[in-house]
Symmetry: C2
Subunit: 318 residues, 2 copies
């Protein structure tokens, strides 16, 4: 099943089922995504009509919980190296995860509004929406709670992160509203889903040029059941909880990857590219997002058809 | 206006207006607290009937956002001293705040379920519920967004905190579901409200004995408008955002306070009491919550009447 939420006067929008080819949709009886998750009613009794992804808000325009992991530990190691911070060995066995803001997500085509001095960056991620998860859930229980998969642009304000990390209390100012793909897809409809993760190329274009072509199924140290079980160790998770993978990041021959322009898989965020530049030339060249800069994030099926629709966002000055 | 939410089949419960003396209530047309905040419709057209706080769930049984500050910096200094960690001077001018879980709060009378080895502690706090707050809100805008005030028990798992603080990503496992008072009260109905904060004694009884009698209006380094503006620096806050004060904590003659049993104002969490014991005797004596241990948190008006109802929770083993 493919679901999307159309913008409406309701802050939770209007839930629709979307056809395989993302061309048509029909409203679901539950009205909103959260109501469908709460009641288990994903039924429809309306006619199909034209689907335009530009009418979409986030599948869950606001959610009761967003927990974002850092499952691609390679990314963590790279961004820490870029800051001159060593990475504890435990990060390879104990997932990093933060409680993210979930009170209002950006629509997939919304501008990212902020002060360029904050160091505006994108992060292409895979995210899942769960049903209810009991406290202390096993990996099997966690796996069976995964209801939908989508893409995420976890907007990050790089220049505000070191200060907040130093305080230890996580990200409040440095992780503003993030965005999700127009369409959320149930795992049974995803050929790339298996072993608790999504495989396939995550396409990231920055200002119209290929920037990232990483594979989400590779180098994911912690799969989604593991991330969910980590989150549920001491508390229940409500239906509609969103769990993010963290920035998709691939190694190359055990080390950092190469830019797409040099034949590599590239990067899912500017910070990694800057780190590689720093390694190679002593200084970062690529600037963080400036007003007008654009990022597109999507995945394709074997026939080249978009799976989740496209996150397509431009930066805009405050 | 005094509002509470009665348990119902709806995960968001049923919103009621409560009389001044907390003896009667009547349903509000909006149905749920979030719907009233979303629409601004706080109207009622039903009859008053008996109000029993034991029928209450959290005023917002689940919320889109809970951000918890550490406005009583004295508390931060004490718990860090107890861990042997120095406190950066910047903590006196730059608020500490973490994004807390908000997908499901405990009811005011719910057991706190957990493994005693986690170091289960309570934290008595003041919390406010906001209307919508624009990104970059001024202190005046932040102040005017405060809609309701309530009490919070920010349950903390002390033995899991140092590991998560060390990772820098904030609290996920070490801050499980917290609880709020049965009744949320608008500032205009609170004689103790002024200067962006709530004044008056926060009563904390632990196992039936006075444990905390701190004054919430004293030693609050950052008032609520300041906390809200901090949260809104880089993002909008949705209506229904809950902002917590952090553990209410009073100094005594510039140093740590004394237990109630020794004539002091006592403490709003066990961790502070243990810290004082460590200072005085070299070792903490008071254990964190064991199965069956009970905490009660409430405030009273000038006539001794309960303002918000009572948070009354016992620990229970997993």
């Amino acid at each position: 099943m493919r679901l999307a939420t159309l913008k409406s006067a309701n802050p939770d929008g209007g839930l629709v089922e979307v056809s395989d080819d993302l061309s048509t949709c029909r409203p679901l009886k539950a009205g909103t995504f959260q109501a469908a998750l709460d009641t288990g009613n994903f039924g429809a009794d309306a006619d199909w009509h034209n689907f335009d992804a530009s009418d979409c808000v986030s599948p869950l325009p606001r959610a009761y919980q967003f927990l974002d992991g850092s499952a691609y530990v390679n990314h963590v190691e790279l961004v820490r190296k870029a800051r001159g911070a060593a990475m504890p060995e435990s990060f390879w066995s104990d997932p990093l995860m933060y409680q993210g803001g979930s009170d209002g997500f950006l629509a997939p085509g919304d501008d990212i509004v902020g002060d360029p001095a904050w160091g505006i960056d994108f992060e292409a991620e895979i995210a899942v929406i769960t049903g209810p998860v009991p406290m202390g859930a096993s990996l099997e229980e966690a796996a069976s709670a995964i209801r939908f998969v989508m893409l995420c642009n976890d907007v990050s304000l790089r220049n505000l992160i070191p200060g907040e990390l130093g305080k230890g209390f996580g990200f409040v100012q440095s992780k503003p509203a993030c965005a999700f793909s127009p369409v959320a897809v149930s795992p049974d409809e995803l050929p790339g889903w298996g072993n608790g993760r999504m495989s396939g190329t995550v396409y990231v274009d920055f200002n119209g040029k290929p920037f990232g072509r990483t594979d989400a199924g590779i180098d994911m140290t912690f799969d989604f059941p593991r991330l969910i079980a980590h989150a549920a160790k001491t508390r229940h998770l409500a239906a509609g909880t969103i769990i993010g993978s963290g920035t998709v990041s691939n190694k190359l021959d055990g080390g950092p990857g190469k830019p797409v322009s040099e034949g590599g898989a590239g990067y899912s965020c500017i910070a990694e590219q800057r780190m590689i530049e720093t390694f190679e030339t002593g200084a970062a060249v690529t600037e963080f997002m400036q007003p007008g800069d654009n990022v597109k994030i999507w995945m394709e099926d074997a026939s080249g058809r978009s799976i989740f629709g496209t996150i397509d966002q431009s930066a805009r000055a405050l």
